[in-house]
């Protein structure tokens, strides 16, 4: 099982440091591993950053990568999880021509059914935002493509785990 390629979502708690993104991405680059998505943000702990990285690799590779990440001086802790172990969201934005809203009735239905949201409308264009799982965003993208998309972008994955991560207790222990 360890040699089957799976999708892993890695959560890394770090000190906020300018060069750390470079150090972490270099770990993947050196081993010729593609990062599917990467997000950095503050975490639940003041002054601690959180990286969320998605990769498709084997579990045995994943364990080694985890070791290499945790070895970095400014990394507090790295966890990895499979899709079943997390709740995650991605977000995307579409920019489309405004006349489509009136000419193509279906578009309004698509927006409603997909739980997307119109962020803004003006005479020339309107903007749709959608948050959800990867497949939901893929589906919306497919459905809107036929009408012509002016611009499209999607965010990296953000995720929380179903189980507790105990990072706060760990930090408390470190500080004592």
């Amino acid at each position: 099982m360890e040699n089957e390629i799976k999708q892993f979502t890695i959560s890394i708690y770090t000190e906020n440091n300018i060069g750390l993104l470079n150090r972490i991405s270099a770990i993947f680059q050196r081993r010729h591993m593609n990062i599917e998505s990467l997000n950095t943000s503050p975490s639940e702990i003041d002054g601690v950053s959180r990286f969320t990285i998605v990769v498709n690799i084997t579990e045995s590779q994943m364990k080694k990568i985890q070791g290499q990440i945790e070895k970095q001086v400014e990394v507090i802790k790295a966890y990895y999880h499979t899709e079943e172990e997390i709740i995650y969201q991605e977000s995307c934005i579409f920019k489309m021509r405004s006349n489509l809203l009136f000419d193509e009735r279906q578009i309004q239905n698509i927006i409603k059914e997909s739980n997307a949201r119109i962020v803004t409308v003006n005479r020339d264009f309107f903007v749709i935002e959608k948050s959800g799982r990867k497949e939901e965003i893929d589906l919306l993208h497919r459905e809107l493509t036929v009408f012509g998309i002016m611009q499209f972008t999607r965010s990296g994955r953000i995720a929380v785990t179903k189980d507790e991560m105990k990072i706060s207790t760990m930090l408390l222990a470190l500080e004592q």
């Binding site: 770090t14 000190e15 300018i18 060069g19 470079n22 150090r23 270099a26 050196r30 364990k63 080694k64 070791g67 290499q68 945790e70 070895k71 001086v73 400014e74 990394v75 507090i76 930090l171 470190l174 500080e175």
Partner: protein
């Protein structure tokens, strides 16, 4: 057994505040960390620090190398023989990029080193200014940690962290890049040594259950084999290590960087593992029932083909770096922690043992290696001088007390195979990176760190010429190193591979060499060339007896090969004797 960590904020201030420049602060930080020697090369962006060095020259000795790469290798040689942090310094741009080879070498060989680079003024960062280079970006993959300082007030904390990180846990190189304006800026200086960093746990806890599991495997083993690496030396665990193997009676083999942790003559020392290691430990790696790896990382040059490496054995792995566990070889029992601590705790759990039959196997295989390889290496009957007989002569003249600093290639393998070591930290060589040009500058650092020790540098004619400019440093600093060049007029190791695997197509491996003796004499270094066996003994004696630096060139056979050899991709037990 728990390693407690304190947080930096808890440390007390040792000095009161004083208003000084960033560059003076750099010197004061170095002094606070006990630095007495640093190696470097000045230039525009680091000039303020050099100006302060001028004022502090009675307290801190700056060695002007002839190239920044030389500065890094000297700092490495200093660190490897002393166990202290080596320090080197360079200017921005090309000065900084010239450090990279040495930094990468220190990273892969876990050598504690602090590198200081000057940087253009912070208002010029990112503007492609003269001699601006992104050295923090460039050095990131080859440093344990690095940072850029743009304000003088950041200097004390940066240095405190740098030294702490470089020397703690698994040691490694760190780099501090200081903009020129931060060097000029004045601030209120005070220095607090770093005692801990929240996100960094240098020494993992040793788990008692894993120690018990390891002890049980060792106690029940019929054919145990220890393979130790530099972790024993870095962990200052030589005595604990010796106690373990003596109590349990385990034949023990070393990786190239583990050499000299116990004397060569120790009855349980069965030689070197790996590509050009000894026959018995390589073959018997695939016969042992328990393989105990201590402070080593199962490098590919050690394991050969992993698919066939010690598959029959239970593997116990002692290491300070959790990322090494299961990285290359799947272990049955992993014991994390500092070797000194974990081996000390292991000792009372072990039964006394002798494993006489098992030892006999090593002796039998040694006889085969002796007959097929060692005899002809050490006591050649053919005309050409062998590299090994030069080593033998050095062993005799130095009584095995010298530190041998070798370069990279055939002579390195011969030096590691045949040098006799009585003292730890005596084999200084570029193991992981295989950096040709390492030896000459590393020998300078080693000799300066340990002036009472005999330091003999051994290089080939190829590697020697990669950093030959450091003869200038030896001349200026009057460093009494002994320089031995084993000249076969070839890049010998590559030529050996061309002979064995590329049908003798000697592409770009033959060298037309200059008059090495004349070059050494140009630097006022006593020098001699030996071309015949009858002159070897006297020449080595003259070299060792010489009080100052000495250069000895020995013309060795042109197409000698190093055996035994595990061809790339082969199993350790398929090691070739010819």
């Amino acid at each position: 057994m728990k390693e407690t960590q304190t947080i930096q904020n808890n440390t007390k201030t040792t000095e009161t505040t004083e208003r000084i420049s960033g560059s003076e602060a750099v010197i004061k930080c170095l002094l606070a960390e006990g630095v007495d020697i640093l190696y470097g090369y000045p230039g525009g962006a680091i000039m303020p620090v050099y100006d302060e060095l001028y004022k502090y020259q009675d307290k801190i000795h700056h060695v002007l190398t002839r190239h920044e790469q030389g500065a890094t290798h000297s700092a490495q040689g200093y660190a490897r023989i002393s166990g202290k942090v080596g320090v080197c310094m360079a200017t921005s741009g090309p000065g900084a990029t010239n450090l990279i080879t040495g930094i990468a070498d220190a990273q892969i060989d876990s050598t504690p080193m602090v590198c200081i680079t000057g940087q253009v003024g912070s208002h010029l960062l990112g503007s492609d200014a003269f001699q601006e280079t992104d050295i923090v970006g460039i050095s990131t993959p080859v440093t344990k940690w690095n940072c850029q300082v743009t304000k003088a007030s950041q200097i004390p904390e940066a240095f405190a962290k740098a030294f702490y990180i470089a020397r703690s846990g698994r040691p490694g190189p760190v780099l501090i890049d200081i903009t020129k304006d931060a060097q000029f800026e004045e601030f209120d200086f005070k220095y607090e040594k770093c005692k801990g960093i929240r996100s960094y746990k240098p020494v993992p806890d040793t788990d008692e259950n894993s120690l018990k599991a390891a002890a049980e495997l060792i106690n029940n083993a019929k054919k145990p084999l220890v393979v130790w690496g530099q972790g024993v030396i870095l962990g200052k665990a030589e005595e604990e290590f010796k106690a373990i193997i003596e109590k349990a009676g385990i034949p023990s083999a070393w990786t190239i960087l583990g050499a000299s942790a116990i004397p060569t003559s120790h009855p349980l020392n069965v030689g070197m593992v790996g590509m050009h290691g000894n026959y018995a430990p390589n073959v018997l790696t695939n016969d042992c029932d328990v393989l105990i790896a201590i402070g080593m990382r199962f490098d590919d040059r050690v394991t050969g083909n992993l698919e066939t490496y010690a598959k029959q054995a239970k593997i116990i792995h002692f290491d300070i770096d959790p990322a090494e566990i299961d990285k290359n070889v799947k272990t049955d029992v992993a014991v994390l922690g500092n070797a000194k601590v974990s081996l000390k705790s292991l000792l009372p759990l072990l039964h006394e043992n002798s494993h006489n039959d098992w030892h006999q196997k090593f002796k039998d295989l040694y006889k085969i290696e002796y007959e097929k390889v060692i005899k002809d290496d050490l006591h050649p009957t053919k005309e050409g001088l062998t590299m090994a007989e030069v080593l033998k002569e050095i062993n005799i003249q130095t009584k095995g007390d010298a530190a041998i600093v070798s370069d990279v290639g055939q002579h390195q393998m011969i030096a590691c195979r045949y040098a006799e070591f009585n003292k730890t930290k005596s084999n200084i060589t570029s193991g992981g990176l295989g950096t040709m040009g390492f030896a000459l500058p590393a020998a300078i650092g080693a000799k300066m760190a340990a002036p009472d020790r005999e330091v003999v540098m051994i290089a080939g004619d190829g590697g020697y010429q990669m950093t030959i400019q450091e003869l200038g440093t030896i001349f200026q600093q009057k460093v009494p190193v002994k320089i031995v060049v084993l000249n076969n007029e070839f890049l010998g190791m590559v030529r050996q591979w061309q002979q064995l695997f590329f049908d003798k197509r000697y592409a770009s491996t033959e060298m037309t060499n200059p008059d090495f003796v004349a070059i050494a004499k140009g630097y006022s270094i006593e020098a001699k060339k030996v071309t015949e066996r009858k002159d070897l003994k006297a020449a080595v004696k003259e070299m060792i007896d010489c009080e100052g630096p000495y250069f000895l060139e020995v013309r060795v056979e042109k197409e000698g090969n190093v055996f035994p050899m595990i061809p790339t991709g082969a199993s350790v037990s398929d090691i070739r004797l010819d």
